[in-house]
């Protein structure tokens, strides 16, 4: 019984973990259109792969508040919550430059 419960708990936890991982990945995939697949290799746009998490969180926050001037990023950043920005920054900070 106890083993069954442990197994059930482990199984229940699995899709959740997979989900958290893929939601950061999926959010970041939107950025790739301009910033390159996984934030690498783009021309003319800031490379995002390997950017320290706090730097990307700060930049997106400044775009969202209007503190950092932009042509388009202020409009896009306003579409994301704090939690989503954290997930995106987590994902890119873990990518090789």
């Amino acid at each position: 019984m106890r083993i069954a419960l442990v197994v059930a708990a482990a199984l229940a936890a699995l899709p959740f973990a997979a989900q958290a991982q893929s939601s950061g990945r999926d959010l970041a995939a939107s950025c790739a259109m301009c910033h390159g697949t996984d934030g690498r290799g783009a021309v003319g746009y800031e490379p995002l792969a390997g950017m320290p998490k706090q730097d990307l969180v700060r930049k997106l926050g400044e775009f969202r508040s209007g503190a950092k001037p932009a042509t388009v990023m202020h409009q896009i950043a306003k579409g994301y919550s704090d939690a989503q920005i954290q997930l995106i920054a987590d994902y890119f900070s873990a990518q090789k430059k």
Partner: protein, 423 residues
């Protein structure tokens, strides 16, 4: 799960088998499932690439009729003369680097019960999940005489980049100074909402340099410019004064090749170069496959997964879909929908729940001259109440003003989205 390459497949395959063998992929391999993608535009190619990126154990076969990718975005610059066809064409080889099996053929039918795609040059492709990204085809019948006039080379649509882009550019080059270029725009929704107005700007830019007495006449079935209106109108007034005339509520109902006229409901309009963009619907294969659910034109999908609301195990994305509110039919949107779809397909094949809160972004640039551009951007997120994607309140918008900085971003946008889609 399908056995990836069973004996029956091999016997049936001829064209496809030869192509796959040539790609070095004919050896049977262990895979979880096979996804077939029909269409190698911004949507189909991105989906094929990202499924392979996110789960290399899934076999992906992409079927595309053209052996080279020609980008609709930026194709108006070929008409304006600042870019060439070479600049907007790209190889599909990059997808092969990701293990996508690219088959150059025409998908002629889909048997959803047997999960088989039939190909023109022979061979059936079995699938576990199918992604249909066919783009648009035209409702030629809505404009009397269009097909005959097109065959007689008296009218173009040039709304799929390629041979017609080249033909239209040639007609513009051959037109006498003082001539009239007539551009007819269909009622929304159509592919690329700002496209017609970028085209008008590009043709005017060419006229200004090469044939300054010429005119651009926009006959728009819509009451007003449907995208970035104030930005386009300001650019037209300041960059091309007196050259571009815009007429709203001017729906084309016919074309007469002999007299060079576009017929409106109440009058006929003569022009020297006629560019009539007919109303559109999802590409032909979507019709044949029974994927059309709305107005005999568009394919309804569940926007959590892009799965068809009509046919199980079949996903549809890009211009062919019944757009969610505020969603344009654009290459950018197709690239983004493709990633939403790829994520869902990978999850479903692996027995996981698809991402319950997908979020995608649209960013479209339009060039109003050789070097200045304007953009429109929007963020689309899952709305649990409305069970569709809706725009995030307070997000998105258009350029503050046209400028060369946005022009530089526009070109980089194109280079980067081509790369994200194809290599």
């Amino acid at each position: 799960m399908t056995r990836p390459w069973d004996r029956r497949d091999f016997l049936k395959l001829s064209g496809a088998a030869a192509a796959l063998a040539a790609a070095g992929c004919a050896t049977p391999m262990k895979t979880k499932a096979r996804v077939v993608v029909v269409g190698g535009g911004f949507g189909g190619a991105t989906a094929a690439k990202y499924i392979r990126l996110w789960d290399p154990a899934i076999e992906v076969v992409m079927v595309e009729r053209a052996n080279i990718f020609t980008s609709c975005p930026l194709s108006n610059l070929v008409l304006g003369g600042s870019k060439s066809m070479e600049d907007i064409r790209h190889s599909y080889d990059g997808l092969r680097q990701h293990g996508v099996q690219v088959v150059f053929d025409e998908a002629t039918a889909i048997d959803a019960a047997k999960r088989v795609v039939k190909l023109e040059r022979g061979g059936d492709l079995r699938y576990d999940r199918l992604i249909v990204a066919p783009g648009i085809d035209f409702l030629y019948g809505d404009i009397a005489g269009f097909e005959d006039a097109m065959k007689a080379r008296r009218v173009t649509h040039a709304w799929k980049a390629g041979a017609q882009t080249i033909a239209l550019r040639k007609q513009l080059e051959q037109m006498k100074d003082g001539g009239v270029f007539v551009l007819s725009v269909p009622l929304a929704p159509y592919r690329c909402p700002p496209g017609p107005y970028e085209r008008a700007s590009q043709v005017a830019s060419y006229f200004k340099k090469a044939k300054p007495r010429s005119k651009v006449l926009i006959l728009d079935a819509n009451p007003d410019v449907t995208s970035k209106g104030p930005l386009f109108k300001k650019a037209w007034a300041e960059l091309y004064p007196g050259m571009i005339e815009f007429r709203g509520n001017a729906k084309a109902v016919g074309v007469d090749a002999k007299s060079g006229t576009v017929k409106l409901e109440v009058e006929d309009v003569k022009g020297d170069v006629l560019n009539v963009v007919p109303p559109q619907r999802a590409g032909d294969i979507a019709v044949k496959a029974g994927l059309i659910t709305a107005n005999n034109r568009w394919c309804g999908v569940n926007w959590l997964t892009c799965e068809s609301t009509a046919v199980q195990n079949v996903h549809v994305l890009g211009d062919a879909t019944l757009s969610a509110p505020g969603m344009p039919k654009s290459g950018s949107m197709a690239n983004q929908q493709a990633k939403l779809c790829a994520s869902a397909v990978v999850a479903m094949i692996n027995g996981q729940t698809p991402n319950p809160e997908p979020k995608i972004v649209n960013t479209c640039y339009s060039y109003v001259s050789d070097d200045e551009a304007v953009h429109v951007a929007s963020v689309h997120t899952w709305n649990a109440e409305q069970k569709t994607l809706t725009t995030v309140p307070g997000s998105g918008g258009v350029s503050a003003a046209r400028n060369a900085l946005e022009g530089a971003y526009a070109w980089a946008w194109a280079v980067n989205i081509w790369q994200d889609t194809l290599s």
